[in-house]
């Protein structure tokens, strides 16, 4: 009962917001915020009440099922919370744009569709919501027009390929078992041959791999993230892309089941997927270093961090799974925060996102800076931020399970991250403030609020990771993994514990001690940025532009290795498809006269065949 109401509120609310927007924009903004907050409260109330219910039987004889379990609750609360924050952030961000009613409609629709996906109990529902999500995303990516149209097109084409793969898988499952109910398939598939299971894993894996941008299916992501409006990029990177992770969890551990996925062989599905995850970590992270566009830089990290999630859940131990799922949540928090921080800067600097022309904004936009700082700390996985705990879980699994090369890929990804995100933060907020930004004001409150909330969440989950880990542990147990020994501040086990509260108190005491030492020293004099020492040389007044090529020596060495070969390959395919279509168009001209000629020629051919061979 309650799940239907939830979805009705979500979808109905989206339409209602659109209609109200035609009358008054204030009412629309208010309604959009209220609906997203109501959804959070609603989902929160559903905690710990598993339901499975068929609400409609008439779909070609198939039941449409909604169900709620720990896994779907976990994703639903993240979706609704981040969705609400994004709506609040949008309030000022899109204020002066055109077609804002449409924007809110699509934003709420995307959130509703994602809630639908996680609450689906059968594959028909799943597919329908999946498609609603895909095309509404397409419309939002293309919202800005111009280059955004091309980005959206790239997204929708890859998305359609994924959907078709999923459809093939569904048809195959339906012909095999006569049902598309997830729990029924799960019990029926245990008797299937290993070849068939592999087919199902691969065909659905393509769909979810495209959504989660696993290499080599990642190429839609950088352009789409960069071109979409920032508050939506936050949703896109935080939760929407991670529907792929949800899909993989559903596929591997709910439908196919733990015992059929995790096989000890070296060339097994989960092992290859783990290696794909590792490749997805390393290469995009290094490509991110070359980016000068703030959002593109984050987008490449979005791909790279997706690799950690895949690596964690594909490896298939309870620690790894917990790490993978936890990283999905953590990534959502810090990447949303980072995109919002960039969004705030964009909003105040006239849409500037080129890292080479920003700088020194820390004094002008302190809250955005704090958001950016904690965001990159989480992205790197600095201890006491949430990203650290999930990465620690993944590393520990890999090391103790004797996969040091996978662990190496994951660890070196972190060090590559440090380089690019420092450049990100430095070029936006630190260094020299260009003269044209002398009068920049802090972001409006509706932008600062989500940034503050998410910053707090990063520290909270970093210092007390036990809060989400308890829920994640329940998810793992429901998949048939052994239970982890989770405490509020980490994990205890014989093979090495994690205790974040110890680290936190040690750092706090050390910091206080050093701060006192700092205060005891002679007082320092605040000076302007012009007043700095350059060994007698003159520092140019505006941008001194060393930062433009921040890692130039490294670029020169690694750039030749970091072309996006896969993207070029897809473009070549696209070009040849276009050539093919062009030649087809020479036959199908659209002129009726030609078609009549074809029909007559075809009839003539048939008559000729009949006269000569008399087959009929």
């Amino acid at each position: 009962m309650s799940l239907e109401i939830l979805l009705i509120i979500a979808f109905g609310g989206a339409l209602l917001t659109y209609l109200v927007g035609k009358v008054s924009y204030k009412g629309r903004n208010f309604l959009a915020v209220v609906i997203s907050l109501v959804l959070i409260a609603f989902v929160a109330c559903l905690y710990g009440k598993p339901v499975e219910k068929t609400f409609y039987f008439g779909f070609f004889g198939l039941g449409l099922v909604l169900r709620l379990n720990t896994l779907s609750w976990f994703f639903a609360i993240a979706i609704s919370t981040l969705g609400a924050l994004s709506v609040i952030f949008s309030l000022s961000y899109v204020k002066d744009r055109e077609r804002t009613d449409f924007y809110y409609l699509m934003l709420l629709l995307v959130n509703a569709a994602m809630l639908g996906i996680v609450f689906s109990g059968d594959l028909v529902c799943f597919f329908i919501f999946w498609e609603i999500m895909s095309w509404s995303t397409f419309l939002l990516i293309s919202y800005n027009r111009g280059p955004a149209l091309a980005a959206g097109m790239k997204y929708i084409i890859m998305s359609l390929v994924g959907s078709l793969a999923m459809l093939i898988g569904m048809i195959s499952l339906y012909t095999g078992y006569g049902t598309l109910d997830i729990s029924q398939i799960a019990s029926a598939i245990t008797s299937a041959s290993s070849g068939y299971i592999l087919f199902i894993l691969i065909i659905f894996g393509i769909a979810f791999g495209i959504k989660n941008a696993v290499m080599p299916l990642h190429t839609w992501l950088p352009d789409s993230y960069a071109e979409a409006p920032s508050p939506f990029t936050a949703v896109l990177s935080g939760m929407l892309t991670r529907m792929g992770v949800y899909g993989f969890l559903l596929l591997m551990y709910v439908i196919v089941g733990l015992r059929n996925v995790i096989t000890p062989r070296l060339l097994s599905y989960h092992y290859i997927l783990a290696w794909l995850g590792a490749v997805t970590i390393v290469i995009p992270t290094f490509i991110a270093m070359l980016q000068n566009d703030a959002k593109k830089l984050l987008a490449w990290h979005g791909i790279g961090q997706g690799g950690y999630m895949i690596l964690g859940i594909a490896f298939g131990t309870s620690l790894g799974l917990a790490g993978g799922i936890f990283h999905t949540l953590n990534h959502a928090i810090y990447i949303v925060l980072l995109f919002m921080s960039v969004g705030a800067v964009q909003y105040r600097t006239g849409g500037e996102r080129d890292l080479n022309s920003l700088g020194g904004l820390i004094k002008k936009m302190p809250i955005a800076f704090v958001g950016g700082l904690l965001g990159i700390a989480g992205l790197m996985g600095v201890p006491l931020t949430n990203g650290f705990v999930s990465k620690w879980l993944i590393y520990k699994t890999l090391i103790l399970q004797r996969s040091p090369f996978l662990a190496f890929a994951a660890l070196i990804g972190t060090w590559g991250t440090i380089l690019s995100v420092y450049k990100f933060l430095h070029n936006m907020f630190l260094g020299q403030l260009p003269e044209k930004y002398e009068n920049v004001k802090p972001a409006p409150f509706s932008m600062q609020l989500p940034i503050i909330i998410l910053s707090a969440a990063i520290l909270l989950f970093g210092i007390l990771p036990g809060i989400p880990l308890k829920v994640i542990n329940a998810i793992g147990t429901s998949f048939g993994f052994e239970t982890l020994n989770v405490t509020l501040w980490g994990i205890t086990s014989e093979t090495g514990a994690l205790n974040t509260i110890n680290i936190f108190s040690a750092l706090l005491v050390a910091a206080i001690f050093v701060w006192i030492l700092f205060r005891l020293g002679a007082k320092s004099v605040p000076v302007s940025q012009e007043d700095s020492y350059a060994a007698g040389a003159h520092i140019p007044k505006d941008k001194y532009h060393y930062t433009a090529e921040f890692y130039n020596p490294l670029y020169r060495m690694i750039k030749p290795f970091l072309r996006d070969v896969i993207d070029e390959f897809y473009y070549r395919i696209a070009a040849s498809v276009q050539r093919l279509s062009d030649s087809v168009r020479r036959v199908y001209t659209g002129d009726v006269g030609y078609y009549v000629t074809y029909i007559i020629l075809f009839l003539a051919l048939l008559i000729l065949v009949q006269i000569k061979w008399k087959p009929w």
Binding site: F408, N499, F518
Partner: protein, 298 residues
């Protein structure tokens, strides 16, 4: 409990004393190699006290907080490292945490210096980050080889295992990893031929250029702790740690003096040369070490 508290207070103090002693010693040894007399051993302490009383400039809030964060981070790392048999936070996350908290020091310094708006700082930080990516590749391979060998992420276990089996650097195949670690140690310590980060003659000490007074004093303390941490990690992992603080200190001293000799006679690399070096022999050795470790154990 009381012992624990004493350890928590004692180990950073010891680390600091050792680190500052090393700073003074380095100047003395360098001077002797140059045929000079050199300053007294306690010169760094005198400098530091003087610096605390001197005027300094501040470029903003992050400029202050970054340096505090940096030093605090280094102090926490010390708590994770066994000093002899003393390790206050031995069971809070192990080597993986050490590896990550070691980030705080350079990150804090980079954030603090970053607000300085000085091209020398940008150049210095850029070099520092590239250099650290350079040495992290072999370093991570080395650490993974050690962790795979003992199937643990706890540094205490690695140390106590060596008490019975002998130093790790003498054991096959981790000899290769140990050698690789020794080859990258100058880069981790930031001494010549890898001192392009500070490079006083080129970029006016890079990230340090805007520091004066207490900032410089704190940065010097931080530097002393980093010296201690880098060498202590090597001694703990490959030279068997120490049965008591005295043997541990002697081992550290030997490694450090070797490092100073290298520092004294080598010219400075350019950053590209450094990366080429780091990604060639040390990485190759570390890679071989890891593969053979994996092959032997499975």
């Amino acid at each position: 409990m009381v012992i624990k508290v004493i350890q928590v207070i004692l180990s950073p103090v010891l680390a600091l004393v050792v680190g500052i002693f090393f700073l003074g010693l380095a100047r003395k040894i360098m001077a002797r190699i140059h045929w000079r007399y050199g300053p007294p051993l306690i010169q760094p302490v005198i400098d530091m006290i003087r610096l605390f009383y001197q005027k300094s400039v501040s470029h903003g809030r992050m400029f202050d907080l970054g340096i505090v964060l940096s030093l605090a981070g280094s102090i926490v790392v010390v708590l994770f490292l066994p000093f002899g048999q003393m390790c206050p936070l031995s069971n809070s996350g192990g080597l993986l945490v050490i590896l990550y908290i070691m980030l705080l020091a350079p990150l804090g310094l980079a954030l603090s210096a970053g607000q300085g708006a000085n091209p020398n700082i940008s150049i210095g930080i850029s070099r520092k980050l590239i250099l650290s990516l350079g040495y992290e590749v072999p370093l991570l391979l080395v650490l993974l080889a050690v962790m795979t060998r003992y199937k643990t992420i706890s540094i205490m276990e690695v140390v106590s295992a060596q008490q019975s089996t002998g130093w790790l650097i003498t054991s096959w195949p981790l000899f290769l990893s140990g050698l690789s670690y020794f080859l990258i140690l100058p880069a981790i310590l930031g001494i010549r031929p890898f001192d392009m980060t500070s490079a006083p003659q080129e970029i006016s000490s890079g990230p340090m250029v805007e520091y004066g007074g207490k900032y410089l004093a704190l940065a010097t303390i931080e530097h002393a702790l980093v010296l201690f941490i880098s060498i202590a990690l090597f001694v703990n992992l490959f030279l068997g740690g120490g049965a008591n603080p005295i043997t541990f200190f002697i081992k550290m001293l030997v490694v450090f003096v070797l490092g100073v000799f290298i520092h004294a006679v080598f010219p400075r690399f350019r950053i590209e040369q450094a990366i080429k070096y780091l990604w060639k022999w040390p990485t190759l050795l570390a890679f071989l070490g890891l593969i053979i470790t994996l092959a032997i154990r499975s």
